[in-house]
């Protein structure tokens, strides 16, 4: 059993389709710590001690957010700036997160083909997520492939939301092979199975 913490950051939660569906789908998953950052810190006054304690207490840190202007909503950035202190997350004696996993669950408004050299976003989505990847690396954390949903304003989020719930319970029960997940580019609701360990005792396909 891995201890999973699910951070959610969306300032426009009430207008959201996909992220709201994901957040709702996450609720029934037991044994996972859930934090709605905008509800907990509506005035951006992040409690550093509390957040560091939370990080220490968990093995897998999952951030769910919509990609805004190639980055995270501002409160999550604030959270990162404040919580990942020198001497805690990095630098001298900054080894408290060593060996833990970071994973992102992001939604992008543009369709998948926009995130390529010919598309209007020009770069693959992973390129925009490199700041998070490097953040994990500097903190001696491992960075699993992000769970991604494109065209989030138009596509039906139901399957993606259900996949997200499966992902969470899979992480909790160590059914997700994170070493495999680390090697992937992006994960989608239909590719979670490819990084899952076969349930013990079940027959090989």
């Amino acid at each position: 059993m891995a201890k999973v913490i699910h951070y959610y950051a969306h300032p426009g939660h009430r207008f959201s389709h996909t992220n709201k569906a994901m957040w709702d789908a996450s609720q029934p998953v037991e044994g996972v710590t859930r934090v709605d950052l905008y509800a907990e810190y509506p005035r951006h006054n992040v409690n550093i001690d509390r957040e560091q304690r939370r990080l220490i207490d968990h093995d897998v840190v999952l951030f769910q957010f919509p990609v805004f202007w190639y980055s995270a909503p501002s409160l999550l950035k604030e959270w990162i700036d404040l919580t990942l202190e020198h001497g805690f997350a990095y630098g001298k004696d900054g080894d408290k997160l060593c060996g833990k996993w970071m994973m992102l669950a992001v939604t992008a408004a543009g369709p998948q083909d926009a995130y390529s050299e010919g598309g209007y976003q020009h770069f693959p989505l992973r390129t925009f997520l490199t700041p998070f990847e490097q953040t994990a690396r500097l903190c001696k954390m491992r960075f699993a492939a992000p769970y991604v949903f494109y065209d989030a304003l138009r596509a039906d989020p139901a399957a993606h939301a259900q996949g997200f719930a499966d992902l969470l319970s899979g992480l909790r029960d160590d059914r997700i092979d994170l070493d495999k997940a680390e090697a992937e580019g992006c994960l989608y609701h239909d590719s979670i199975a490819s990084v899952s360990r076969r349930p013990e005792g079940s027959p090989a396909q």
Binding site: H10, G12, Y38, E40, P42, A109, L153
Partner: protein, 659 residues
């Protein structure tokens, strides 16, 4: 009655005319008063006014000044000053006396006369020097502190001098002394001094001037003296608060003034009764009260009296100059005066070197104390009465003392205009130690001012709190907060609390109009001071804005907004949405406030201001829309931040992208 009115009118008019002109010309108030005194001296002579009698009365200003100085000086600071007090002061008095005595003997005076001259001339003028130092803001400088040490020592030294002088009596003067006084008394103002001598107390000249201890054996006298000093200290420490609490019940402004005067006069009287210097006694009482919550109240009550009496004193010094005698042998007197000042200066510069005063401070000390002082007048009349000095010598010395006092303001001007500019480079290398950082004055310490005070202190700022409720203050003092009793709406009290050096004023008093008046007054006096003011409602905001407050905070608005936000959350709204909505509400309200402020006229009540009412209706209907949920006025602003583009827009964009 008419006599009194004429006299009062002459002195007041002279002061009112001369001092502003002198200040404008950069000469300082002391020189202004002195010149005013010289100017009215013919009138006073024509009216046959006993100037010296007035001068003795006005000397009480010095007593009050020392009381105020004491209030500024905590016992701890006085203790820290002890080396300078004894070292600087003792050497100054001792060496100057010896040198003046030597010179006098060279001029052929007998040793006892010469010694008396030395003692008289060694003293400097507390009145002029402290007044000028305060006026120029030099009191806290190193030179100012050294000067103060010397002056304080001199005030103490007067007591043994008064004991010593009768021992120097010349037997040959004993027979003629009384005769001379009678003969000259009415003719010249300077000689009139002799009619006012302390010495005549023995003959019963003054019914009021009683000395309780003089007929007692020495040990009893000493005991009485110690008891009196202990009484002042104990009374100051333990009686002030109950007495002021008692007076507070009447809730009358003038009763506080009366109480403050009663304190000072009572102490002065007690000191006189046991044969001590009243100035010293009140100084001691001031030091004892320096930590009291009533310090600023006492300060602001006594200060006008001190100012008026000192002004009167300086004018009498100017008026008492015997011009007949002076112009009779002008060169001699000028030479004597300059010679005296040179000797005193030389001693002071020597001491400055020993006590390591630097730069501008050295010159301030060396030049500032070079005059003889008002205690010189007292000692002179005393010496004549005790047959120590021949009246002829005393007359001449009186003139020298007065002249040296009149030259002092010129020396201060010289120091300021010539020495300081040259020292500028030197002092830059050694910046003055800053004793006190800029203060934050919090007027009113109720629930509102209390929070502000706690926040200031939490951030490490030092605050001065004024409140007129002693119950409130009592509670605070238990928490170790520095609080002072007094009505914060009184400008004089604010000044006593250090408004001039303050960096911020927080107006947190309950009374709405008093708060506005306070802001208006302070803004007028201090155009650059930051003023944070508490408003009770919307109209008060406009009034405070017009009065010149920098920041205006409605006392219940922010908390009401927070309550509204909590209500949103309780109704199930997402905390971030509640926050955004609350912020939008605040912005909207602020915009309304500004709209209405533009048509608000403090001269017309709001309900009679047509334009204001019109605007109010307009704004109110908008607000009703919001409240009834119809309006989008501030929903638009909150929604647009995170609203994604619509599906139709997205489809259209994609179409456009393809073509």
């Amino acid at each position: 009655m008419t006599d009194f009115l004429v006299l009062a009118f002459v002195f007041l008019a002279a002061g009112v005319v001369a001092v502003p002109i002198a200040s404008r010309l950069g000469l300082g108030s002391v020189l202004g008063y002195l010149i005013a005194g010289v100017a009215i001296s013919p009138i006073l002579a024509a009216l046959q006014v006993d100037v010296v009698a007035i001068q003795h009365f006005a000397e009480f200003g010095v007593v009050m000044m020392l009381f105020l100085v004491g209030l500024e000086l905590e016992p701890k600071m006085l203790w820290q000053m002890r080396h300078r007090l004894l070292g600087l002061g003792g050497l100054q008095v001792g060496v100057t006396t010896a040198l003046v005595m030597g010179v006098a003997m060279v001029f052929g005076l007998s040793w006892s006369v010469a010694l008396a001259c030395g003692l008289v001339l060694a003293l400097s003028s507390t009145a002029i020097v402290l007044q000028t130092l305060n006026e120029k803001g030099l009191m806290k400088s190193d030179g100012g502190q050294a000067s103060f040490s010397v002056l304080l020592f001199q005030d103490i030294a007067v007591i043994p001098m008064l004991a010593l002088i009768p021992l120097l009596a010349l037997p040959e003067l004993a027979d003629v002394g009384g005769h001379v006084v009678a003969g000259h008394g009415a003719e010249s103002v300077a000689e009139a001094a002799h009619g006012e001598t302390h010495g005549e107390d023995h003959g019963g000249g003054h019914g009021m001037n009683i000395n309780l201890v003089e007929n007692l054996p020495a040990w009893q006298a000493a005991l009485a003296t110690i008891a009196a000093i202990a009484g002042v200290i104990m009374g100051g420490a333990y009686l002030t608060t109950p007495v002021f609490r008692f007076v507070e019940m009447a809730n009358l402004r003038e009763l506080f003034v009366a109480t403050a005067l009663l304190f000072v006069i009572g102490i002065a009287l007690l000191m006189t009764l046991v044969g001590l210097s009243p100035a010293l006694g009140t100084f001691l009482a001031g030091v004892v009260l320096a930590n009291s919550e009533y310090r600023h109240e006492l300060e602001s009550d006594i200060d006008p009296f001190r100012g008026l009496l000192l002004g009167l004193f300086f004018m009498t010094v100017g008026a008492a100059v015997n011009f007949g005698l002076l112009f009779g042998s002008f060169g001699t007197f000028l030479g004597l005066t300059l010679g005296l000042m040179a000797i005193k200066s030389a001693v002071l510069f020597g001491l400055a070197r020993i006590f390591k005063l630097k730069g501008g401070d050295k010159y301030l000390f060396g030049l500032g104390l070079a005059q003889a002082g008002e205690f010189g007048f007292v000692l002179l009349s005393f010496t004549v009465a005790n047959n120590v000095l021949p009246p002829v010598v005393a007359d001449q010395l009186l003139l020298v003392v007065a002249l040296s006092m009149m030259l002092t303001p010129l020396l201060f001007i010289f120091h300021e205009k010539v020495i300081l500019p040259r020292m500028a480079g030197e002092t830059e290398q050694e910046p003055d130690e800053i004793d006190e950082t800029g203060q934050i004055i919090i007027a009113g310490h109720g629930r509102f001012g209390g929070v502000v005070n706690r926040m200031m202190r939490a951030a490490g700022y030092s605050t001065t709190v004024l409140d007129h409720s002693s119950v409130q203050l009592e509670r605070l003092r238990r928490f170790g907060v520095k609080v002072f009793f007094g009505d914060a709406t009184r400008p004089d009290l604010l000044h006593a609390a250090g408004l001039r050096e303050a960096r911020l004023l927080v107006v947190a008093i309950d009374q709405r109009d008093a708060a506005t008046e306070l802001v208006r007054h302070v803004r007028h006096e201090h155009p650059k001071l930051g003023i944070v003011a508490r408003a009770v409602d919307r109209h008060h905001v406009y009034e405070l804005y017009a009065a010149g407050a920098t920041h205006i905070v409605r006392d219940t608005f922010d908390s009401a907004v927070r309550a509204g936000r909590s209500a949103y959350e309780e109704l199930g709204m997402h905390a971030f949405d509640a926050e955004m909505l609350a912020q939008a509400f605040v912005d909207d309200d602020k915009a309304t406030l500004l709209t209405l402020a533009s048509v608000y006229d403090p001269k017309i009540p709001a309900y009679e201001n047509e334009e204001y009412l019109e605007k109010l209706k307009e704004v109110a209907s908008q607000r009703d829309d919001i409240l009834s949920g119809n309006g989008k006025a501030f929903h638009v602003r909150t929604d647009r931040g995170w609203t994604p583009p619509s599906r139709e827009d997205l489809d259209a964009e994609q179409e456009a992208d393809k073509t």
